[in-house]
């Protein structure tokens, strides 16, 4: 029997049909997006806020098992986030580490291998800022001029690249003021002409002295009002004096004011040395904690154990101060409701070493404290903390952000989407790290250190260091997290397998930069 459909029934069916069609369409769109997002709008275009603390080693955070309570606020943030426990920087200092975050490739490809190094020209349009959707408002800031050099290469894709000096107490730089179009090259020259290069004197015989005198005077004027608050010294690097509070205040203000959706990359200097915390944090770790003393490295810088312990304590106190400012940012983000529609990423560009006679991060070695960095990501709708144990690398941030913003992931990217945000967990995932400061920017790499992580295995490969004959190092990080027992002599086959993997990668990219 045929029954005629009433108008009401027809409208109901039509509405149902349309809703079903719309739902199917949305389901198709959401295939590449992260599952935890709570709303459709957020899922399609979340804000992205990346906070980088320079020289922040995961091994100094209680979230990762450190004995001192250096970072209670970062721990608070972790409680609402994805915590990646085996996340590595691809490089041991700012230039290669930051370049890998911004390009999604390892240093053998982007070739920002040197201090103030820049990536190959081809990456000017292949980076975090160029690949995220054009409707995103893109902002960047860094205390660290090495990171500024990199972001300057991408500036045509950045709406706001805030000058370092805007959040500094003094900034004696001239190059970017006078030669903004050629700022990177002009800066290197200014550095050499007026400040010299390491132990090498400046090329300007009289100009260098005049510059130093004026800088001394500027510094006294700029830092006198706050010297009482920073008894060890006012935080600085390369003549840039700053207080972290100013950067935190600006970040808080900017996050509430930026057009949405936004992609922002904010890189602050602490806890990079010199370790000059606010007076409230000086001496907070005058405790009995004594880090493990490890055998001296071939590449020792001749720091004694007591020097290293003191430096580590000072670093921890500086880190506690940095964490306090992070706490203020965290409070403001919560108050503003930022977590409802923003992916907030806390990470670092590299770690810091206080062992084996080595202090800092300008070294050919790649021990864990130097390359194991925190990665803590809060996503809208994530109900509680998730701990990810898969090995990941900072090359993974770019493909993950592209995935989160609905963009295709180009083939040339070496990173993968992070587990928990759309990527798969894989305990055989291979992640690389390298230091090649003495290699040329273009063409085959010469002397270098490359490490490979797979599961709990870590191989460190040393190539062409003068007088170095100790061979490669193989560690089982699960049984030997302190990297004390080199298994390379016993597990030669396994070590050789890893060396072959590294050699293949090096050969694959030896023509990088040559056309």
């Amino acid at each position: 029997m045929n029954k005629q459909i009433s108008r009401r029934d027809f409208l109901k069916l039509a509405g149902l049909g349309l809703a079903t069609a719309a739902g199917l369409g949305q389901a198709a769109k959401l295939r590449t997006l992260a599952s935890p997002f709570s709303s459709q709008a957020t899922a399609l275009r979340p804000n992205i806020l990346i906070l980088v603390f320079d020289s922040l080693s995961a091994l100094h955070l209680p979230v990762y098992g450190y004995q001192r309570n250096t970072t209670p606020n970062m721990a608070r943030f972790a409680n609402r986030s994805l915590v990646y426990h085996h996340h590595y920087s691809s490089g041991s200092f700012t230039s290669p580490g930051t370049a890998s975050i911004l390009t999604g490739v390892y240093p053998w490809q982007h070739r920002a291998l040197h201090m103030h190094g820049t990536v190959l020209d081809e990456f000017a349009d292949k980076n975090l800022f160029s690949l995220t959707p054009s409707e995103y408002y893109k902002a960047g800031y860094s205390h660290n001029l090495l990171a500024v050099s990199l972001m300057a290469q991408f500036k045509k894709h950045i709406h706001l690249l805030k000058p370092t000096r805007d959040l500094s107490l003094m900034d004696p730089q001239l190059a970017d003021r006078l030669f903004s179009k050629d700022a990177n090259v002009a800066y290197w020259s200014e550095q050499l002409a007026l400040r010299g290069n390491g132990d090498d004197p400046p090329t300007a015989l009289f100009g260098g002295l005049i510059y130093q005198a004026s800088r001394w005077l500027q510094k006294r004027i700029a830092t006198r009002p706050i010297q009482a608050d920073f008894p060890l010294g006012v935080p600085n690097l390369n003549d840039i004096y700053f207080i972290l509070e100013d950067a935190a205040d600006w970040i808080i203000e900017e996050v509430s004011a930026m057009p949405q959706p936004y992609l922002s990359y904010f890189h602050v200097l602490p806890p990079h040395e010199p370790y000059f915390p606010h007076k409230d944090f000086v001496g907070v770790f005058a405790d009995h904690y004594k880090p493990l003393v490890k055998p001296e490295s071939f590449f020792t810088q001749n720091f004694s154990s007591s020097d290293l312990h003191r430096a580590q304590r000072e670093y921890d106190e500086y880190l506690a101060y940095a964490d306090h400012e992070f706490g203020r940012i965290l409070d403001a983000l919560e108050e503003q409701g930022v977590f409802d529609n923003t992916v907030v990423i806390l990470t670092s560009d590299h770690g810091q070493l206080f062992e084996r006679g080595i202090h800092g991060h300008v070294t050919p070695v790649l021990y864990e404290a130097l390359i194991h960095i925190p990665l803590i990501i809060s996503v809208p709708g994530l109900a509680k903390r998730q701990d990810i144990q898969t090995t990941t690398g900072n090359v993974d941030l770019l493909p993950t952000i592209l995935s989160l913003t609905g963009q295709p992931i180009p083939d040339w990217i070496e990173g993968q989407v992070l587990p928990g945000l759309g990527g798969a967990e894989n305990d055989q995932r291979i992640v690389y790290n390298m230091d090649a400061k003495s290699s040329p920017k273009v063409g085959p790499l010469s002397s270098m250190t490359v490490s490979i992580h797979r599961g709990s295995d870590k191989l460190v490969y040393y190539q062409r260091y003068r007088n170095y004959s100790d061979g490669n190092e193989l560690f089982n990080l699960k049984n030997d997290p302190d990297e004390l027992h080199n298994q390379a002599p016993e597990k030669q086959t396994l070590a050789a397998e890893y060396v072959n993997l590294i050699s293949e990668k090096i050969q694959q990219h030896e023509k990088a930069g040559r056309h």
Binding site: F179, K181, D182, S189, D200, T203, A204, F206
Partner: protein, 180 residues
């Protein structure tokens, strides 16, 4: 009525400028060449040429500035200078500049060692002593006076070469900032 006549003629001022430019440029080139091996590793050819150009442009500006300061002395009216000093004034001024440049170099190279009052006092004493010795030698020892004058004449040619290279460097800097 006395007309104003500076102690240094234009030719003499040119000799002083040449000395200043040569000293500044020799220093700049030495420090620059020390960086070349590292720069070759990390910079492209274009960046290498650019960085060198900025450094040489800085050397040119420094030469003009420092020579200008030194030549301020040369604006003193001739009538105010003692007779015995009028004739050798240029060579004496050049000798003083050279002594100052040498001790400036010492201060720059060993800058970390000059942080205490005794060290600074020692530097000042060394500078004054060298100034006195150099001035005495060029004013009193005829052989040295003659050689010094000949050297200053020849430095003009060298300074012209340096300045010509600097002008090319300036054009490269301008081009880089207009074309990038």
């Amino acid at each position: 009525m006395d007309t104003y006549k500076p102690i240094l003629s234009r030719r003499e001022a040119g000799l002083i400028f040449a000395l200043v430019a040569v000293v500044i440029h020799i220093w700049a080139y030495i420090q620059l060449f020390r960086q070349i091996p590292a720069w070759v590793l990390r910079l492209s050819l274009s960046e290498l040429v650019g960085a060198t150009s900025y450094v040489l442009m800085a050397a040119l500006l420094e030469s003009l500035f420092i020579a200008g300061l030194v030549l301020l002395v040369g604006l003193l009216p001739a009538r105010r200078i003692p007779e015995w000093l009028k004739e050798p004034f240029t060579t004496a001024l050049a000798a003083l500049f050279l002594a100052g440049a040498l001790w400036t170099g010492v201060l720059v190279i060993y800058r970390d060692d000059f942080r205490s009052v005794p060290a600074i006092a020692g530097w000042i004493a060394g500078l004054l002593a060298t100034c006195a010795v150099f001035t005495f030698l060029v004013l009193r020892v005829e052989v040295i006076t003659r050689l010094w004058k000949k050297l200053m004449e020849r430095l003009t040619l060298l300074s012209n070469l340096y300045l010509a290279i600097d002008v090319v460097a300036v054009f490269i800097v301008i081009w880089r900032n207009l074309s990038i």
